[in-house]
């Protein structure tokens, strides 16, 4: 009895081992198959985003064209996922040049769609309707964005940003801002934040954004950036990069060229980020008058 019991148990153990092995092999094969499928899907998505990134980048202004209007110019747009919500635009007008930086909420594909639709709308307003007043442009962009995306059925699209108009003969900058971030860096290293509105684009259909005007001197540098730059987490204590760190860095670089300053900001941003993922789309533009 005891021997037959042990013999039967041994056989059952062998069967159990064989069955479990078959199961694990089957699971491994299934996982390999799923892995292949995921790799193909991943490649399709990656290829699609890479191509979409090229399309979005092609909508950005050429630095050489910026240098027609400004003494020096450089910028960097670092979308978190290759494509994203940050954009920079420029358009020459009868009186000078209109330009700005816009940051759509979120990141990735939805933000890119909002970003492109906003840019195209602005270009339409500036080209077909010949509007060059930053305040009017921002008010109309706000109204249209709210009407299209944030109506009674949905509230999905918001932007922050700043739009400037520059008249070189008067040496004045007029601008209108919706939480847009901009700094004016003097040749001496003095740096000032430009006042802005606390309203986002798309929040209120009839929001009236203020129009500001500032005088500029030759050698002054205008810096625009999105909050993805200063909100980046990193450093030894995983804190935000911060506006103060950016201002200090810029003050120390006031005598350098626009492209050298952009490079320095980009390097400091990467150093700060370290092994952390990029928090948001981050953009930075510098124009020297």
């Amino acid at each position: 009895m005891e021997a037959s019991y042990l013999k039967e148990q041994l056989q059952a153990k062998e069967d159990m081992l064989a069955q479990t092995t078959r199961f694990l092999v089957q699971m491994q094969n299934d996982l390999e198959e799923k892995n292949k499928e995921l790799s193909l899907v991943n490649k399709d998505i990656f290829d699609s985003i890479s191509f979409a990134s090229l399309i979005q980048k092609s909508l950005l202004p050429d630095t050489d064209i910026l240098k027609i209007f400004f003494k020096d110019a450089s910028f960097r747009v670092m979308q978190q996922l290759g494509i994203g919500g940050d954009t920079i635009f420029i358009k020459n007008t009868n009186k000078g040049v209109v330009f700005g930086l816009l940051d759509s909420t979120g990141h990735g594909i939805p933000a890119a769609l909002l970003s492109i639709s906003g840019t195209l709308l602005l270009k339409e307003l500036m080209t077909s309707m010949e509007i060059d007043n930053p305040q009017t442009l921002l008010n109309l962009l706000n109204f249209q964005l709210h009407k299209t995306f944030n109506n009674s059925k949905s509230s999905i699209a918001h932007k922050e940003g700043i739009i400037f108009s520059y008249c070189s003969t008067k040496n004045t900058l007029t601008y209108s801002s919706a939480k847009g971030k901009a700094l004016l860096l003097k040749a001496t290293g003095e740096i000032n934040e430009l006042p802005n509105s606390k309203l986002s684009i798309g929040d209120e259909p009839n929001a009236a954004f203020e129009l500001f005007e500032i005088s500029i001197s030759p050698g002054d540098k205008l810096i625009m950036y999105s909050d993805g730059l200063t909100d980046q987490f990193g450093g030894d204590n995983n804190k935000k990069f911060s506006r103060e760190r950016l201002k200090k860095l810029l003050s120390n670089k006031s005598g350098e060229t626009a492209s050298d300053i952009v490079k320095a900001v980009e390097e400091e941003f990467a150093r700060w980020k370290g092994i952390n993922g990029q928090t948001d789309d981050a953009s930075f533009m510098i124009l020297e008058f």
Binding site: K13, M16, Q19, L24
Partner: protein, 147 residues
Amino acid sequence: MTTINFKGYEFTLENKGPFSSLYFNKQLKMAICFADEEYIPIDNFKEMFLHISGMIEKLEVKHLIFDKQKLRTFHQPSMEWYFAVWKPEMKNKGLVNHYKILPKLDWFEKAVEAGKYEIFQKFSKEILNGITITYVNSVEEAIEDIS
């Protein structure tokens, strides 16, 4: 009369075989089957479950706990018989819940998963319909579940 207590409920020994013991509590309408050895041969396994069938009919058992913590060998033909023959009949006789307590061994759990996978390949997942099977960590957990 041999009895054991769980959460204040007294369970009376109904059957003691060479590889398992069977207890019952009338108030809870619950039976507990303990595996007493590392392995239960299929004939003894069937004998034990047929005894449980009788209890389900005569004593109106609604809840069954099978404590397999002492088992170290999983026997696929026994499991197939349980799923394909015994369990469908017990649904009609009034059994509602079947709680199972497995040994705290990863390899044993994986062996059970492998066994169920082959059964579902053979009979389809429809075989699970009817009695609710729940894996618990202790007899007390099963009693709490029905209380």
